[in-house]
């Protein structure tokens, strides 16, 4: 039973399109995140969200927007996709105050052509 699941696992799309990546966690965690792993393999925080606040990394373009219909879901919506958006996107969740350990999803490889 997958703890943090992301769909789709692979996504190939054309420049200019709008796409969404879904994330669901069944751990009862109260905080969810989106990380981007770029071509140099660095994992960089994009968003942190719990039922209290959304924290946005200021370097993330406003074409990226997280949407949370409920505590167990944090979807990532991307408008007007660009070639540079190609990366692996990881969703994660954590329980506040519990040794900061995240549980990650298996990632979504986005390729913009």
């Amino acid at each position: 039973d997958t703890a943090v699941s992301q769909t789709p696992k692979y996504l190939v799309t054309q420049m200019g399109n709008d796409k969404s990546i879904k994330c669901e966690q069944n751990l009862g965690h109260d905080t969810m995140y989106w990380y981007k792993q770029d071509s140099k393999k660095f994992l960089k925080i994009m968003f942190s969200y719990n039922n209290k606040e959304l924290i946005i990394n200021e370097t993330v373009p406003n074409r990226f927007s997280p949407k949370s219909p409920d505590k167990a879901h944090l979807n990532l919506h991307i408008n007007s996709l660009e070639l540079g958006d190609s990366a692996v996107y990881f969703c994660a969740s954590s329980q506040e105050g519990v040794n900061y350990g995240y549980t990650f999803g298996s990632g979504t490889r986005l390729t913009v052509v």
Binding site: F42, L43, S48, E53, I55, F90, S94, T103, F104, S106
Partner: protein, 113 residues
Amino acid sequence: DQQVKQNSPSLSVQEGRISILNCDYTNSMFDYFLWYKKYPAEGPTFLISISSIKDKNEDGRFTVFLNKSAKHLSLHIVPSQPGDSAVYFCAATSFNAGNMLTFGGGTRLMVKP
């Protein structure tokens, strides 16, 4: 500006020997440090962590050492096993960082049988 750095992109070790993975950080506000392990096509999984009030934490074959004055931590794996072959990410956070982790670029460990 990378606040967490793993200067060795790869490390090769013989089975049964010790693996030492290093990590340096620049932000003196960081007070909690973690190591994650990542296999191909999977998300990172939490391995071990250490608080800044300690200088060592051990869990089975894995030990993390923290040298606050040098802003340096290391992960020791002994004895190394072929199944330990993976990419290891160092991560850091601070109490007021909203549980968000800053990751290093990773070190690929290869344990040869």
